[in-house]
């Protein structure tokens, strides 16, 4: 069982050894040569890892072999035939495709003989025969593998004078992706990605021979959360993404490597801009994290940074509403508000909510400031996650999970909340490395790949786990090897205790099991571990909001948080916003909550500031700045430091460490020097290891939970509220291209329940809970079991979170058709 708890270094190496198709050998530590084999490439003997492919061996050893269909993260198909090389074997010299030929000890490979050159040139001429060569108006021109390899390995000119293939120029195959079939060279990359990697087999070849084309099924668009990846891996300009079309030429782009903070997976990316405007994010192949993939939400939400609705200047509330002011006035006002509160009621009357959307530096600076003035009401979550003590359990990495023999899912639908983690776990199941045991109230994206998918009543996961562990087959599986539990908040309409109790039940029964926390906000783990975490449940987000609602909070600081939309109990959030005397909001865009603020401080957004972030496994990696911050907006950490100097007698003392923070790098250094567990996250280490370094801050484990779900009335439905990938969150709502992809609010019911209620799908129903009522349209959904009602969180057109009472263990509702 010790395997499960080994450090990340070992698991990363395991992965590199297994994933022989990877071109990322940098991760492999310098090992003694034994176990490697010798392959002679172009006359030079090379030592390569056994079990690999000739194409990788060549490309790693200065013998670049041109290719189009081969992609190191997908199974080879040998379709484009561009990677032909000669291999000398017992039956003489053979021309083979290097992407399908395994390396063997003693193999002799030639990549530059005249016959190889002739063959490669021949294939390239054929690929170009029907290619429109509209490079001057093609987005790919300048970064196009076909263009590049036509220059490096092509014949120089074409003899093709016949009519080329003609198709309608780009046709939309989804709301985000356009397909130009004339440019397509039919390499099978996008179609293979959709099938093998994303599991959304919605594009395929149709017709045959010279008429072969990539196409969707009739009337069924390529609706995939991962469609942007097909655009990135397309070796020509056949697939283009709406948000980037005709925005820039590749040679005008400059880029910086960064980490996506849309969710807590922390995919490595490059942030690309032209003329100081963010234009594109591309996935970077990080072996321990994202394998080069991104979700469409993370890929396309750069539009929110460029949005005209950005907060460019600080504002204070005047008689005519929120008014732009200078930073000087805004900061003085904010400082006065805080000083007043400290002088009046003391730090117990100040609350600090948020911080998970920022960088480590932002969270650290605000936590230091809060420590200094004694603020105890603080939480980086908004009552929509799990207690921070979850991070106290032995931590698993993504690689640990994707290589564990058993993955236990106790949390949200990963496809909706942590999409690239979904890809990694789906791959683990598809490659038969892992068996997934899923506990959930409704079907999720991983249900089709689960070895066992166990449905339970909402809030009854603990009972379900107990029953499952009594099952002989499941018990044997759990005892067989490393077990990683992926634990997150499955349902915003039930108590987080339900999940904690279930996790505790599992961890008590399976020795050596580790936990991969599935908390979703970008830097939630960094913010919680760097100090934006309540000392006790009496000071968490819900407690803060309750205090505010009861008039016990004088200043509520919203650090990039929007309780009105993100707190599951919207009634409580409304009362809290109304009850807080003053609100200071630090945000990038106006939200419903900032509109109620007294002071609004414009914050720099992603791509406008550098720093570091921490993903859900505790991996710290660098954030890059690519563009100038909008207007006069500033990074959160800078606001904290400056505010700390303006608080009069409560100001940071002259020897306080934040006093030395003049640049973001200073704060990064301070974190490495002083923050518990972050010693490894030095700037030197981060620049040496772009994939990031794991940190290990000590967090206390949760107290034993004794949670039992109350029994359900037989004519009530038990409510599940959870997130979809696209919702009304600012990053999505402010991104034109993906905002429209958010589904509308609705209640999803099993078709049999819909029939029993006597309501037509699409018709309205009234939901009545103990605290409130809501009217929403009905959708029939086979993924929802009978007796359960599911509603997506934070969508346009009404909200089921009106029904949620944060104090209740579960939310049962009565459903009646609106007559």
């Amino acid at each position: 069982m010790s395997d499960a708890t080994t450090g990340a270094d070992t698991s990363a190496d395991d992965d590199a050894a297994e994933d022989t198709a990877s071109d990322d050998t940098a991760a492999a530590e310098p090992e003694p040569d034994d176990g490697r084999i010798t392959v002679t490439i172009d006359g030079i003997e090379r030592r390569v890892d056994p079990g690999g492919l000739v194409i990788d061996a060549c490309n790693e050893h200065d013998a670049y072999v041109p290719h189009f269909c081969y992609h190191p993260r997908m199974s080879p198909v040998g379709m484009c035939r561009q990677c032909l090389v000669e291999v000398e074997g017992p039956r003489g010299t053979m021309m083979v495709v290097s992407c399908m030929t395994p390396t063997q000890d003693g193999q002799v490979v030639n990549t530059t003989t005249p016959s190889v050159k002739r063959a490669q040139e021949g294939v390239l001429e054929l690929l170009l025969a029907n290619h429109p060569l509209d490079c001057p108006v093609c987005d790919k021109g300048g970064e196009c593998p076909l263009q590049d390899q036509a220059f490096s390995h092509g014949p120089g000119e074409s003899r093709y004078i016949e009519q080329k293939r003609h198709y309608e120029k780009p046709i939309p195959i989804s709301d985000l992706v356009f397909l130009d079939r004339e440019r397509c060279i039919l390499c099978d990359r996008c179609t293979r990605f959709a099938d093998e990697v994303a599991g959304d087999k919605l594009i395929h070849f149709v017709s045959r021979g010279n008429d072969t084309q990539v196409m969707t099924f009739p009337d069924e668009p390529f609706v995939s959360y991962f469609s942007g990846n097909t655009v990135q891996i397309c070796p020509v300009g056949a697939l283009t993404a709406k948000p980037y079309r005709f925005k820039a030429r590749p040679w005008d782009l400059s880029q910086v490597e960064s980490t996506c903070t849309t969710c807590s997976v922390g995919c490595r990316t490059v942030v690309q801009a032209s003329r100081d405007e963010l234009l594109r994010y591309q996935g970077v192949d990080s072996d321990p994290v994202n394998h080069g993939w991104m979700c469409d939400r993370g890929r396309f939400n750069f539009e929110a940074v460029n949005s005209e609705h950005r907060l460019a200047e600080p504002q204070i509330r005047t008689e005519s509403g929120l008014t732009d002011v200078s930073w000087n006035i805004a900061m003085t006002t904010a400082a006065a508000v805080i000083t007043e509160a400290l002088d009046g009621g003391g730090p117990e009357r100040i609350g600090l909510l948020g911080g998970a959307r920022g960088s480590n530096e932002d969270a650290f600076a605000w936590a230091q400031l809060a420590d200094q003035i004694g603020v105890r009401y603080r939480d980086a979550q908004l009552g929509d996650g799990l207690p921070a003590e979850l991070l106290g359990y032995p931590r698993a990495t993504i690689d640990d999970a994707a290589n564990a023999s058993t993955i236990v899912l106790l949390g949200p639908d990963l496809k909706e909340e942590l999409p690239v983690l979904y890809l990694r776990l789906r791959d683990a199941a598809e490659q038969r490395r892992s068996r997934i045991i899923e506990f959930s109230a409704t079907e999720t994206g991983l249900t089709p790949y689960a070895w066992k998918s166990i449905r339970h009543e909402p809030a009854s996961a603990a009972t379900a786990i107990e029953q499952a562990m009594a099952d002989e087959e499941i018990a044997a599986q759990l005892a067989a090897g490393p077990v990683v539990a992926v634990v997150g908040r499955p349902n915003l309409a039930e108590s987080p205790e339900a999940t904690i109790a279930a996790a505790q039940r599992l961890l008590a029964g399976v020795s050596g099991a580790t936990v991969l926390p599935a908390l979703r906000r970008g830097n939630v783990v960094g913010a919680l571990t760097l100090g934006l975490r309540p000392d006790d449940p009496d000071h968490d987000a819900l407690a803060t909001l309750r205090a505010a609602a009861e008039g016990r909070i004088d200043v509520l600081v919203l650090l990039g948080s929007d309780p009105l939309n993100d707190c599951p109990d919207s009634d409580l959030a409304r009362r809290a916003i109304a009850g807080a005397r003053r609100i200071i909001s630090i945000d990038t865009h106006h939200s419903e909550s900032t509109q109620r603020a007294d002071v609004v401080l414009a914050a720099a957004a992603y791509g406008e500031k550098s720093g570091t972030t921490t993903n859900l496994e505790g991996r710290v990696s660098a954030l890059g700045q690519k563009v100038t911050a909008t207007g006069t907006s500033r990074p959160d950490w800078m606001i904290a430091v400056e505010l700390g100097l303006l608080l009069g007698e409560h100001s940071l003392p002259s020897d306080h460490l934040l006093r030395g923070a003049a640049t973001v790098d200073d704060v990064t250094d301070l974190i490495a020097a002083t923050a518990d567990g972050f010693a490894s996250a030095t700037r030197a280490a981060l620049s040496a290891e772009p994939d990031g370094v794991l940190v290990d801050p000590a967090v206390p484990t949760p107290d034993p939970a004794t949670f039992t779900a109350p029994s359900r009335n037989s004519y009530d439905y038990r409510l599940v509220v959870s997130r979809k990938l696209y919702d009304r969150a600012v990053g999505t709502a402010m991104s034109r291209s993906i905002a429209e992809l958010a589904p509308d609010a609705a209640v999803h019911l099993n078709p049999l329940d819909v029939a029993q209620l006597g309501v037509e799908p699409g018709g309205d129903v009234t939901l009545t809970s103990a605290s409130s009522t809501a009217v929403l349209p009905v959708v029939t959904n086979h993924a929802v079991p009978r007796g359960v009602v599911w509603s997506p969180f934070n969508q346009h057109g009404g909200s089921a979170n009106e029904l949620v009472d944060a104090d209740a263990d579960v939310t049962d509702v009565r459903i009646e058709p609106v007559r």
Binding site: V77, M95, A129, Y160, E162
Partner: protein, 476 residues
Amino acid sequence: MPADAPDAPANGSAGDATNTAVPTGPKLITARFDQADGYTYDGYVASGGYDALRHALTSMAPEQVHDQVKASEIQGRGGAGFPAGVKWGFLPDGVFPRYIVVNGDESEPGTYKDRMLMELDPHQLIEGTLLACYAVGAAQAFLYVRGEMALAQERIAQALNDAYANNLVGERILGTDFSVDIHLSWGAGAYIVGEETALIESLEGERGMPRLKPPFFPAAKGLYLQPTIVNNVETLSNLPWIINHSGQDFYDLASPTSTGMRMFAVSGHVNAPGVFEVPNGTTTFRDLVEAPEYCGGVRQGRSVKAFIPGGASAIWFFPEHLDLPLDKATVDQAGSMLGSGAIVIMDDATDMVAACWRVVRFFARESCGKCTPCREGTTWLERILKRMLDGHGRAEDLATLLDVCESISPGLAWPPKQTTICPLGPSAVSPIVSAVERFRHEFEHYVEHGRPIDGVERHAIHGTGGQPVHVGAAHV
């Protein structure tokens, strides 16, 4: 479509061709072609049908059946000519389930022997399939019939129903422990599905595109990635006779390098085209073309200008090859192949450029589109030839033509090398290489004058009785 043999063709010695008398032999598998009810269950049983199966199940061990087939040295009749008994031996020990797949997707131009077998003697094929299943230990067989063969499908389906009804297929056949299910699949009209791995893809419900070898050698990783034997209809139809007699009897019928009787389908400019079962390896091309019991000579007393010896993929032969015996090794040696047994005769009025275009057009249309050289190359070849026929040829076209061929099949050698996944691409190269090598002046004449040389019929390969066909009217 020739199945891809796992090894290169063997080098055999040239047979001794004799012109004196046409060799004769018994009808092994076409005996019931003259029997009016030969295709029915009653008719089949009345003429000794299912005796071989009964005999094998009751008094032979599976290994003995396999041994008889090995002893017969019957070569696969699908095109590659690989010995069936040896192929069965490639199945890995102890890996089950394993499958027999019957390749009834006969679609090589000029080949129609399997269609005749399926239409006129479907029970014989079913019995052969059962014998193969018994020999290799397969409990399931898949019979894949070409989509266009409506009558064959109807008769095979009826025959299978009758066989099930008479406990010859299904559970505990004839009261023994031997159980086999045979599944029928109809093709959807793709030549490439005759290639065994593409056929397997099609059976699995995927697009009919070939798999790469390695690693997908069917005997190791075939249908549903289980060990699979893909056999041709004619090959399996021979099994009842071999079991009723013996492998040695079969071996003794004809030449030691090409054993047994074999069916050849002759078409083109002959007086009486047809399909004939002749002694393998001893009969010559001339026998088939000229003998009155076979084709009875070239039409209108003309002479042979060229002929395709083994399906459209084969390198063309010329009059000097007419006396070669129908022997796999000899034909291989002479630089072509017997392939699927389709012989197409072109007489001296044939426009070779048009003939060449016709064959190339077939391959261009049938390319599955999976790999670049075949998808793009065959169409390019077809368009150059078409342009020549239309009178728009250019001086450099002939060089381009051969160079594109070179991109598909490096070296233009025989047997062809290929940059493609399967042999379809190089198949389109064969007619061009053959025609240009021998009739270069005809191509040059087209380039120079925009019309064929004097004395040839336009588009005579149609076999339309001399009726000229406007080339441009064809859909390309």
